[in-house]
Symmetry: C2
Subunit: 368 residues, 2 copies
């Protein structure tokens, strides 16, 4: 693995859309006792269901800590590769490399990671194991790695359409816990140089009470060039209403890099999902303080789906809108199976299906 | 990775000779402070020289513990893959899988490993991290793994000619610390079923004072079908003399699986190599006891070379016979470069170049 200090777009590399063909997908086996209730066993069952769904149509690589390797190997089907790798937590979207391609080969971007805000408002300390994962994953895959550790970014805070447009939120990328010394224009320039995009559409805020400072991947996602789904509620008393409405206004008044207007599909949220006292009892304290308190609202959203080669895998919350989300995705992805996964045990950790996955784009040479 | 409970030879798989074409080679970055003096820094320089020599003609994969990854990545050239993997020590020959092939694909054998003798006369406790490595390496390479954990074997205790013959020593394979409940015949049968061999040539003992219970790979090695090098001394006062003479007698009275007589090339040993008091001072105690004592004789032998695709890499001890060993290998491997590596800092750990390498045979599909 070469560690590169050039910029991907200068080398002819860009980030393909998630709905482009994949080689496979990376996940991290959950273990952290202050993130995942009851020693992560319920979360592991949810991860397993997701991994089985993804591995039907693409290769899955699961990173497991030394102590968890045997458990992961036994729980997961043989076609899944389980790889020993140390981690602080299990959010592959945010700590695995963002892969870029020039159509012939892929390389990984090794962003700086500071647990969603570092010492300003990060979610845990330390985060050194997570911050080392992207480079090690490139090494493991025998791919070169762009050294962008001086720029803090999580994969969940950007979505691209593969045709020059990037979606993100100001709440996250302009937060004081990320790159406070950079101007918005400097951040735009960095995203353009790294991901090969030409136009950035900035939404203001993400899902209400999302502890990632409003990652884009929980509120709005491209489903094809020029089309997005947006998390939505008609309930004006829900603080989410104003947020989603503001997003809609921005999207309806934006054009993408190709000059297209954006078609917005409203994706109705479930009723507010809150953690129970019993669930909180299954979570270890962190530095003596609880990470969740009973009745705290979780950032549940159907937008946090993962697009695999053969399927779209969508969170389900035992809510009346579960089916509506699945039906919408069927309409938008007519060539893919739409699979719903009960994901409450992932949501308790603070994210959902998209947050725990990171796709590896397909390229013409077989991966190592 | 599938974990297989069949026998390789029943599936049409066999172990190719080391001089067959390789995909690459596995090593483990040294770290153990009671094996490698001064925190393993001198050993790391020797490993680096070896790795650079091997990587000229085949892929090298280096396993490093989490804490050592950054150091290994910085010291090693970019074409080397550094992989995070926990280990007790750094003897890839003995803990990495023994690979078998059917000509189209490769699989790894996951032998039981008990640190060269377990609770009977093993060299350290515990050895669980080492014992888990073979399976994890298969998983990392996306290759299936034969579960042979119930049979204790180290890769350094067997050499094959790739044409049905296996060389080993009674001192090691019949030792009480390996498989004491099995008869010699049962051990033969297991080796034949696992490695696809038909004839086993048993030498009696290995190199004098070799703490592996006389691994074959330090005393005798195939250089081509029907030809071996044998560690040799003409000094009748050296306890090695009787051992080597006994080996010679056995070899001269053996035929291989193809009915050929064995041609033996004497490979003259260096003068006895002993550890100094200063070197001992750089080694941590183990459980309160020193692992080496000053003036202890080390099992130095030129036979512990590694055959890469383009080279034969041979230990050197700053001895008058260094050059003689290199010249013999040049004669026996006319198509390969012969590279000498000063290996005293590896020898102090208890083995040499062959002990810290494990080849991955070439096969027609590219490795993952």
């Amino acid at each position: 693995m070469k560690i590169l200090n050039t910029m991907p777009s200068d080398d002819g590399f860009f980030m393909p859309a998630e709905y482009s063909k994949h080689y496979g997908c990376i996940l991290i086996w959950p273990h952290r006792r202050d993130s995942w209730q009851n020693g992560a066993y319920a979360a592991r069952r949810a991860f397993k269901a997701l991994i089985e769904a993804i591995s039907k149509s693409e290769k899955v690589i699961v990173c497991a800590r030394y102590d968890d390797y045997d458990n992961a190997r036994e729980m997961l089907p043989p076609e899944v590769r389980v790889i020993e790798m140390n981690s602080d937590d299990s959010w592959a979207r945010d700590v695995a490399p963002t892969f870029v391609t020039n159509g012939k080969e892929i390389r990984g971007i090794d962003w700086g990671f500071n647990a969603w805000g570092g010492l300003f408002d990060g979610l845990y300390f330390p985060w050194d194991k997570d911050n080392r994962m992207a480079r090690k994953l490139c090494d493991m895959l025998d791919k070169d790695s762009y050294n962008m550790r001086s720029f803090i970014l999580e994969g969940g805070s950007v979505h691209t359409d593969g045709e020059g447009t990037l979606l993100t939120t100001e709440e996250c990328l302009l937060s004081k816990g990320r790159n406070p010394s950079m101007t918005k224009q400097e951040i735009e320039n960095t995203l353009c140089s790294c991901l090969g995009v030409k136009k950035i559409i900035w939404l203001r805020r993400g899902i209400y009470h999302d502890e990632t400072n409003g990652h884009i991947d929980n509120i709005c996602a491209f489903t094809s060039p020029g089309e997005v789904v947006l998390a939505w509620t008609d309930d004006k008393n829900d603080p989410q209403y104003e947020i989603s409405k503001e997003c809609l206004n921005i999207l309806e008044n934006s054009v993408d890099a190709k000059g297209r207007k954006i078609k917005v599909h409203k994706m109705y949220l479930p009723k507010p999902v809150c953690i129970t006292a019993e669930e909180c009892d299954g979570l270890d304290n962190m530095d003596g303080e609880p990470t969740r308190i009973p009745d705290e609202r979780l950032a549940a959203s159907y937008v946090n789906f993962y697009i695999s080669n053969g399927a779209v895998i969508c969170p389900q919350f035992s809510d009346d809108n579960d089916k509506r989300a699945v039906e919408l995705l069927k309409e938008l992805f007519p060539d893919r199976e739409v699979i719903g996964i009960q994901s409450r045990d992932i949501l308790i950790g603070g994210g959902n299906i998209h947050c725990i996955t990171q796709q590896i784009p397909f390229f013409d040479k077989e991966i190592k």
